[in-house]
């Protein structure tokens, strides 16, 4: 059973009384780029947040990358090289998410 399927199977309350399961729409947005996610280095995790978001993290070339779809449709992205952290929060855009996962850049 893939991680996407496990996340789809969650119900509200999965992490405590007020925790929220990610919406079908949010899961579909990450499911649409599952091939790109599969190509990321092995040190990666896709996991839900307790407030109904989805959090993708991976490490590449000693940098930590984060792409998070927050519950209200904001796409949060960050790059952390241990000394400095760069981050941005934008309205969700499928192309931006895919670009960030593929290239580690949110700029077009």
């Amino acid at each position: 059973m893939s991680q996407i399927h496990r996340i789809r199977a969650l119900a509200d309350g999965w992490l405590g009384p007020r925790s929220i399961a990610p919406s079908k729409d949010a899961i579909d947005k990450f499911s649409a780029i599952h091939r790109e996610i599969d190509l990321l280095p092995n040190a990666k995790s896709l996991a839900p947040t307790g407030v109904g978001g989805l959090l993708l993290e991976w490490v590449d070339a000693e940098k930590e990358f984060t792409a998070e779809l927050e519950p209200h449709g904001v796409l949060f992205m960050s790059i952390d090289d241990g000394d400095d952290s760069d981050e941005i929060a934008l309205p969700f855009d499928a192309d931006t998410l895919k670009r960030f996962v593929v290239s580690g850049r949110w700029d077009a």
Binding site: Q3, R6, I7, L10, W14, L15, G16, P17, R18, S19, I20, N42, A43, K44, S45, L46, A47, P48, T49, G50, V51, L55, E57, E64, T66, E68, F76, S78, D80, S85, E87
Partner: protein, 151 residues
């Protein structure tokens, strides 16, 4: 101006305030939902405070042990866990996150402690500090696994 009577004075004297844990070496015990450990990679989501806890990351005091922490979380509270990880009070303190012995509060279980993320000014800080706690927990390795293969 109204006269100051007893019913206008806040009852601060009766307020229970949890103490900050001062032993920086104490390892606080954190249970991790299986979905936060896909393919053996620990998500920083496991170290973010849950929505029911007002930015308090729920942990157990070290004195009960990692196996008992797992047992209470899964058997007594009925939640899922893949095992116990730990961060020290000092590691949280370095991130300006105080650890509180909040078992003294009403409806808080015995031997409970919380890492207080309410001091963070932004969601971004919460996310970054959760990632730092995750790093410490990973470096320490899993303390207890119900399968018995943890450190």
């Amino acid at each position: 101006m109204p006269e100051l009577t007893d019913d206008l004075v806040p009852e601060v004297a009766d307020e229970i305030v949890p103490e900050v844990i001062m032993d920086l070496t104490e390892v606080l015990l954190r249970q991790v939902h299986p979905i936060h450990y896909p393919n053996g990679v620990l998500s920083s989501g496991a170290f973010r405070p849950g929505p029911e806890h007002n930015l308090m990351l729920s942990t157990h005091r070290n004195r009960i042990g990692a196996a008992e922490s797992y047992r209470r979380w899964t058997e007594e509270l009925g939640y899922e866990s893949v095992g116990t990880w730990g961060v020290t009070v000092g590691e949280a303190d370095e991130l300006d996150l105080p650890a509180l012995a909040d078992e003294v509060l009403p409806e808080v279980p015995d031997d409970h402690a919380s890492v207080n993320f309410a001091v963070c000014e932004t969601d971004s800080q919460v996310k970054r500090k959760a990632k730092e706690l995750r790093k410490h927990a990973v470096n320490r390795t899993q303390i207890y696994s119900p399968g018995g293969d943890a450190a």
